[in-house]
């Protein structure tokens, strides 16, 4: 009995350690963001703000175009997510339900894209977007974001569509539904959960992307949030406005934290869809 209790206690200690490990860097950002600039640069370090201070939260919107960064990120990530989910669902339907010739081979070839680091696409896309004059244009991010997440979308949706009973489609065909109608009126509405799972994951990945955003968005006002924050730093190490940076970090990441907690089941489902079946 005592042994069992010790074991249980050890287990909870481990759980607490895991939780602390996961959230403490983020918590530290929150604490820092609530301090005044003087308190941030004073020793000894205070582990709780002496006086809660929201000034840096206001300053990033008034002194820097942080609101604009957020709008840019929202726009780019939403468009890319919609495009990605739409295109993936069409392709996944063709592969899973129509079983067209070479469908599985196509899937395999597309999956290869997921294996390469982004840097491989960078220079040619830079060249291409330069010629087309797409720098600072959201399209220069929307298309690549939709594409690099396409393998994931097609993979998850193909395995989901395969699970939908064939009888539903057959019944609809008897009623005179065309293939197109079956897809848009029956399969896609039935797949709402899988579409949502895919969309949430793709949105997070788009929101967080850095390399393309850094390279293709040159004007300050065209930047997305991660690049905007990275560029908040002053000219030298000593000018870094840590109060503003931490406030900006919290504003950008808090929605993600909330999304993660609300949709954790879906995110886990999506992340692991490949792991179990593959």
């Amino acid at each position: 009995m005592v042994k069992k209790k010790i074991k249980l206690f050890g287990f909870f200690v481990l759980i607490v350690i895991v939780v602390l490990f996961s959230i403490s860097p983020f918590l530290w950002q929150i604490i820092t963001s609530l301090k005044s600039n003087e308190e941030i640069f004073s020793l000894p370090i205070s582990y709780f703000p002496h006086k809660i201070n929201f000034r840096s939260y206001i300053e990033i919107f008034t002194e820097r175009p942080f609101g604009r960064y957020i709008l840019n990120s929202l726009f780019v990530a939403s468009c890319a997510t919609l495009l990605c989910v739409f295109v993936s669902s069409l392709a996944a339907y063709a592969i899973a339900r129509i079983k067209i010739k070479g469908g599985n081979k196509f899937l395999l070839v597309v999956l290869v894209v997921a294996f390469f680091p982004q840097i491989i696409y960078l220079i040619p896309l830079y060249e291409l977007f330069r010629v087309l004059g797409l720098f600072n244009n959201p399209i220069a991010l929307i298309l690549p974001y939709a594409t690099i997440n396409l393998p994931f979308g097609i993979w998850v949706l193909t395995s989901f569509f395969k699970q939908i009973p064939k009888e539903i489609e057959d019944a609809a065909k008897v009623d005179g539904f065309s293939r197109g109608k079956v897809l848009f009126r029956i399969i896609l509405p039935l797949s709402a959960p899988a579409l949502a799972t895919t969309a949430i994951l793709v949105f997070i990945l788009c929101w967080n992307e850095f390399l393309f955003a850094l390279t293709f968005m040159i004007k300050d006002l065209a930047r997305t949030v991660p690049v905007g924050i990275a560029m908040l730093s002053g000219a030298s190490m000593y000018e870094i406005p840590w109060d503003k940076i931490s406030a900006a970090t919290v504003i950008t990441t808090l929605p993600l934290v909330i999304i993660t907690i609300l949709f954790q089941r879906r995110i886990v489902e999506g992340l692991t869809a490949g792991a179990v079946k593959g």
């Binding site: 287990f11 481990l14 895991v18 996961s22 959230i23 860097p25 983020f26 530290w28 950002q29 820092t32 000894p44 069409l90 063709a94 129509i98 079983k99 067209i100 597309v110 894209v113 294996f115 390469f116 680091p117 982004q118 840097i119 491989i120 696409y121 960078l122 220079i123 040619p124 830079y126 060249e127 330069r130 298309l143 690549p144 939709a146 594409t147 690099i148 396409l150 293939r179 929101w207 967080n208 850095f210 390399l211 850094l214 690049v227 924050i229 990275a230 730093s233 940076i245 900006a248 970090t249 993600l256 934290v257 907690i261 954790q264 995110i267 886990v268 992340l271 692991t272 792991a275 179990v276």
Partner: protein, 286 residues
């Protein structure tokens, strides 16, 4: 006239083929071609073919070789740690307890946050004067003077690895957790009747059945780690003295600071070959 199923199916694939073709396969091909050219985008002179010159320069460039070494070191050390910790997390989360869902969600948080943004957070934590890491370690008596974690060639890579472990362990843990949950309960029950200990159960049931998930998690993490860019770019910029410069950082520097696009492409091509070999070896695994 109604179109046939086969035709309709192909039509549905067209958008995906267009996107993947133009935004992914064309760049891969173009990148390979560019590696044989000298490209000068500022002068407006069209690229000139120079054969394998870029590659021979590359293999003699100690900075490139060092970045390859750094990338390999970063990849191996971080993936190994992430695997061990991730397995631990997964085994822990596989038990049933109250608040398990909440714990699982908190564990997921590091994965969901933007690497570049959290890299700035880490810079603040590692800060030599005002950083909280030094403060904690001093209070615990582990160090006796403050350390410039990111300014010291001996510790900078360690810091980057730690930040990556923090971010990616959840991903590994979740993949492994899904694998654990797909193992049939009956197997454990049967072995318990045979009087198996926890360790034999792990060795004979859990580990072998988890192998596919492990392989998948390791593959994805390895490929991501090889391409690491945002963490280093924000955390250290590749410094100090090039000790954290990975291939992606090297390529970016040559492409956008020195504007040597052809040369930078050849570095990508070479790295891409390495990845291809790893991929083929993985697919051929028994």
């Amino acid at each position: 006239m109604r179109i046939t199923d086969e035709r309709f199916g192909r039509l549905l694939l067209v958008p995906a083929i267009l996107l993947v073709g133009v935004i992914a396969f064309y760049p891969i091909l173009r990148n390979a071609i560019l590696s044989f050219y000298k490209v000068d985008i500022l002068s407006g002179i069209p690229p000139t073919f120079i054969g394998f010159k870029n590659f021979s320069t590359l293999l003699q460039d100690s900075r490139f070789l060092k970045s390859l070494g750094n990338t390999a070191y970063f990849t191996i050390v971080s993936v190994v740690i992430e695997f061990m910790l991730g397995l631990g997390f997964a085994l822990l989360l596989n038990r049933t307890f109250r608040a398990r869902n909440l714990v699982r969600a908190t564990v997921l948080i590091p994965w969901a946050l933007p690497t570049a943004v959290m890299a700035i957070g880490w810079r603040w934590i590692y800060n030599d004067v005002y950083g909280v890491l030094n403060d904690i370690l001093l209070k615990l008596g582990i160090i006796s003077t403050k350390i410039a974690w990111l300014g010291n060639p001996k510790t900078a890579m360690m810091c980057a690895i730690f930040a990556d472990v923090w971010k990616s362990t959840p991903f590994v843990a979740l993949i492994l957790l899904a694998g654990l949950q797909s193992i049939p309960r009956e197997l454990y029950e049967a072995s318990e009747l045979d009087g198996a200990t926890e360790w034999t159960k792990f060795k004979l049931i859990t580990f072998p059945l988890l192998l596919p998930s492990i392989a998948l998690a390791l593959l994805f993490r390895t490929l991501q780690a090889i391409g690491i860019f945002d963490l280093m770019w924000v955390l250290t910029g590749g410094g100090p003295a090039g000790t954290t410069e990975t291939v992606s950082i090297y390529v970016y520097d040559y492409a956008y600071r020195y504007l040597r696009l052809g040369y930078a492409s050849s570095a990508v091509t070479l790295t891409f070959m390495v990845i291809l070999v790893i991929g083929v070896l993985w697919l051929r695994r028994k």
